[in-house]
């Protein structure tokens, strides 16, 4: 039964066609009314915030990685100091790489195009995501957010694959699958679902990037063998396992347990208040309703956008803990009752939810 229901999420299956018939694909999503003049202010691009944040991000990686490597090589009691060093390096690589991938992929983080592209390529490599495949995947995610059979980025299905979700706190499913995909792409082939959203003209880029990435990983493995040390893996590839847990912690707050097949981000997405450290690591993607409603707003202007439209939104979750107190029971309940989802209450006077029609 669970397997049958999960088949609905297959992009190459029938559910996507049903969603299209129901008018749920490429739909007109609810957007708050923001005056054009204010929207232009919020959309305005600037290099400065992202250059500052990228310098801090990479700088802290140098410090954390340097400390980790020095203590690793020194060994003995000093060796234990490698743990905090690599924890810093690993989280910045394997978790913050996700938010950097996301923001630079949208092209809003920097004003200067090459800067966005450079960070996008680096962060895609860190997160073991093909930059072309995931650009198109994320494009579809924004077109058809949580539309079953259409959205390739539904992290928590109904019923949830709990073992996979938990294993991915340490990349134990994502990483092997990433290498399988790398090998497939390097051989010049795509998966059936990838072929549904990647235009033919874009495919040669996928194959080329996979061959380069595979070459880097093979070289890293060779250095490990030649030196008889795992240290190179601690820097390249390894953080996608030992430092990736925070990107799952953040990512699950976005949509888990929320409504599917609706055309209103207020119904399928959460905005969660986070402290400055988490907002730095996550590049303000905790303002996720705002991001989905207006993807052209740079991450550093999202708090202002929130103030602009909060009268239309359900109350924000005051903390990550508050979001988890809701989403964990909801996901567990969906194991038995797949019609259940978290329904938010809108403030008085806000436009009603724009729900669309269920595909089934």
């Amino acid at each position: 039964m669970g397997r049958d229901r999960l088949a609905r999420y297959d992009l190459a299956g029938q559910e996507g066609a049903l969603a299209e018939e129901a008018g749920l694909t490429s739909g007109q999503w609810f957007r708050s009314d923001v005056p054009r003049k204010r929207m232009k202010e919020l959309m305005r691009r600037s290099d400065q915030p992202a250059i500052r944040d990228t310098a801090i991000w990479l700088g802290l990686m140098v410090v954390g990685g340097g400390l980790g490597a020095a203590c690793w090589i020194a060994g003995g009691l000093w060796g234990w100091l490698a743990v905090p060093g690599f924890l810093v390096y690993g989280v910045l690589y394997g978790s913050s790489g996700d938010s950097r991938w996301h923001e630079s992929g949208h092209g809003t983080a920097f004003r200067t195009r090459w800067m966005s592209n450079a960070v996008y390529q680096i962060a895609s490599f860190m997160m073991m995501r093909d930059p072309t495949v995931w650009r198109w995947s994320h494009t579809r995610h924004h077109t058809d957010t949580l539309i079953v059979g259409r959205d390739p980025e539904i992290q928590v299905m109904r019923p949830a694959r709990l073992a996979k979700l938990l294993a991915n706190f340490f990349g134990l499913v994502d990483v092997p699958f990433a290498f399988r995909d790398l090998a497939r792409h390097a051989a010049g082939r795509l998966k059936a679902d990838e072929a549904t959203f990647i235009p033919p003209t874009e495919r040669p880029k996928v194959y080329r990037t996979a061959r380069i990435s595979l070459g880097i990983y093979l070289a890293t493995g060779a250095v490990c063998v030649l030196t008889g040390s795992l240290l190179p893996l601690m820097f390249i590839g390894g953080p996608r396992i030992y430092g990736t847990f925070m990107h799952i912690v953040y990512g699950l707050t976005q949509h888990a347990g929320m409504g599917e097949n609706v055309l209103d981000h207020r119904l399928n997405t959460r905005t969660v208040k986070m402290c400055r450290v988490n907002r730095f690591l996550y590049w303000n993607m905790n303002y996720h309703v705002e991001h989905h409603m207006f993807p052209m707003i740079p991450y550093h202007r999202l708090p202002e956008l929130h103030e602009e439209i909060k009268h239309d939104l359900a109350p924000v979750y005051p903390s990550i803990w508050a979001a988890y107190r809701e989403l964990v029971p909801a996901v567990l309940r969906q194991l038995k009752d797949q019609s259940y989802y978290v329904r938010r209450e809108l403030p008085e006077g806000a436009p009603a939810f724009h729900e669309g029609q269920p595909a089934r």
Partner: protein, 102 residues
Amino acid sequence: MWIAACKAEDVDADDVIGIRHDGVDYAIFRSPEDEYYATAGHCTHERELLCDGLVMDGEIECPKHLGRFNYASGAAQGAPVLVDLRTYPTRVEDGVVYLEVS
């Protein structure tokens, strides 16, 4: 056929507005040098009105997936937009912007 699209002052410099004529949407652009351009109203990637997007450096960025077009030539600037935007001739007379629609 030339149609009156809008007043010249309706469009801010380095910005865009949307108009609809005979059920068809168009986007009217004004460059920082006060030149006027017109394109199809919707993105070629998905049916999204471009007049809600960001105008910057001679390009219009779609508000949904942020695909970019050169608004003078209509040329798509890369993924996710791969098909050029249709453009229309414009002229300004007595403070009114006209565009030629077929």
